[in-house]
Subunit: 327 residues, 2 copies
DNA sequence: CGCTCAGATGGAACCGTTTACGGCGCTACA
DNA sequence: TGTAGCGCCGTAAACGGTTCCATCTGAGCG
């Protein structure tokens, strides 16, 4: 139904080859005929068929994004960054959500990979060799995950955690608890390493509460535990968990930050809207997404280039859930 | 580089036609050869190339989704619902984010529409004839938008608003303010109609505060205005705006719900984590997404079928930001 | 004036599938 | 025993572009 290059060629009185050259602009066409072709093309509403083009050139003009959970603001923002960067480059975007289940990833990749020129993959848990096997051949940059030998963009969350701990220390806190996220999570490791590094440096023991779901419900569990330890400050895996913990602590008659200081991680949009607004570690989620596209661009241009690992800085932002201990 | 049907055909000692038949399972192949073909295919890692298949059949096995803002939990959840439903049907998903700018929509649609068999389009503002012109030929179902003659799935937000108003009335509120969202927004109209309908029924005048950005910052503006009116209750365009309004009101020394009851709309995940948790109108966002895919499936199966408009119910959920007026 | 060369253009092969069409072998029936 | 019919399969023509190669047309130069 839509116009083909043949239609345009006939209308403009040229061959399909010339039409193709006018559009792909890599062959030589005279300025006059190019204008004529373009005029006829817009008149007929012609646009080169991506499938046909992909078949012969091998390039689809699309990239793929695989995330564990689109509804999680952390990844939603990343997706938004990816989307905008892709749009600026006139690339289409395939998205696949794996529902936090690693086992769905291979299937998702396989479905996508023949239709894209490159892949951005946020896989918090899958093992490196699994990834390797699955992507085979498709240029891939990892998002919020670093594996030696892979292209990746991630955030220096370990440093953010260290900033958090040093800040609490300087406020006078000495009993500080940490509530971890899902086991085996890559960024969970990062957090822990940053925290332990800083605590060794300060000669401080951190109270490790264990591993919790990174949700508000997980935070409720955390609150009950942290209150039992007598800690004056809590560092939470992410904002959502912190929100749950705070609401539970308040429900149990504690005040935040007077009785318990709380530092969260991610700085999602809602972190600043809560009462009190969350002190949290800001990670450049949006920028991570667009940066991943930039790297993917480089990688697709030269698949043999040596892998780059971009690490974005994080920043502790002080709002109202931290204060000096009052105990 | 990846194996083609020719490779498989050679390996299995058959023709490419037979390989094709074995995969598309609409031609006649004997059980024995089908098994042999499949065995060779998996051995070689063969999978029919979607682009080549699309070129000849016209079907890509993909659907497209266009949303104004992926980072907005309202649409993120919808996208998630769409994604899951698409995955269950073994369809790929193209996503385009238009950054809330109607003028980017035509471009987004054009980019997408040749690569998909159908489109799900959440366009809060664009005029109906613009949509018609742009999609031409691509089966489309509208999401959270109703236009006569189009397939669509939306939520009965007007009814939710009526529920909200009746609830406030029954609590004893008589001075009730409404803070609207973006002008020209379709779901904004829906809200207003629902509200006005119920207010006429209750013989109550609503204090209309005007039109605000549906963000926390917008909510701050709202708070200052509503405090000036002396209203005892506020109905806000969405949760985010309500959050902003509440935090501003609290900052200015008012208590919620004692001094001001607040009802929001959407029931995003964070609505239940705030302090106090938000009374809000729950709209089935996820379900709307998956329902849209189901409708699109029907539409793609029979493009001539008469349009269906699915309207999902909404439900007021009472949490802690509403109470009897204490003034 | 003839030759060379560069730039513009057309012809045709090709990308990897699907599918209409026809051939082949076999069974069943007259 | 001849043949109609059927199940299975191969051949080849599409689908809509891109690109190699050949051809043509002038311009420039000796």
């Amino acid at each position: 139904m839509p116009a083909t290059s043949r239609d345009v060629a006939r209308a403009a009185g040229v061959s399909v080859a010339t039409v193709s050259r006018a559009f792909s602009s890599n062959g030589a066409v005279s300025e006059a005929t190019k204008r004529r072709v373009m005029a006829e093309a817009t008149r007929l509403g012609y646009y080169p068929d991506p499938a046909a083009r992909r078949l012969i050139t091998g390039r689809s003009g699309n990239i793929g994004l695989i995330v564990p959970d689109l509804a999680n603001p952390f990844f939603a923002d990343a997706a938004k960054g990816v989307e905008r960067a892709a749009r600026q480059r006139h690339m289409g975007l395939f998205i696949s959500d794996t529902d936090e289940q690693d086992r769905l990833e291979p299937e998702a990749v396989r479905r996508i990979c023949r239709q894209v020129d490159g892949l951005i993959w946020a896989s918090p848990r899958s093992a490196g060799d699994v990834l390797k096997e699955v992507t085979d051949g498709v240029p891939t940059v990892l998002l919020h995950r670093r594996i030696p030998g892979w292209w990746s963009v991630s955030a220096d969350i370990g440093d953010g955690m260290a900033q958090a701990l040093r800040n609490l220390y300087s406020l006078g806190h000495r009993r500080i608890a940490y509530a971890g996220g899902p086991e085996r999570s890559y960024s969970g490791q990062l957090r822990l390493e940053g925290l332990l590094g800083a605590s060794a440096e300060l000669d401080l023991d951190i109270i490790r509460l264990g591993s919790f779901a990174p949700t508000a419900d997980g935070g409720i569990l955390v609150a009950d535990l942290v209150l039992a330890t007598g800690a004056t400050a809590l560092v939470a895996y992410n904002d959502t968990m912190a929100l749950g913990a705070i609401s539970r602590a308040v429900e149990r008659g504690r005040r935040v930050p007077e009785d318990l200081s709380v530092i969260a991680c991610d700085d999602i949009a809602y972190a600043r809207m809560t009462i009190p607004p969350l002190t949290t570690i800001q990670v450049p989620r949006h920028e991570a997404g667009s940066e991943a596209v930039a790297l993917l661009d480089e990688l697709m241009a030269d698949p043999q280039a040596t892998p780059k690992e971009k690490i974005l800085p994080t920043q502790l932002v002080i709002r109202r859930t931290t204060d000096v201990p009052r105990v």
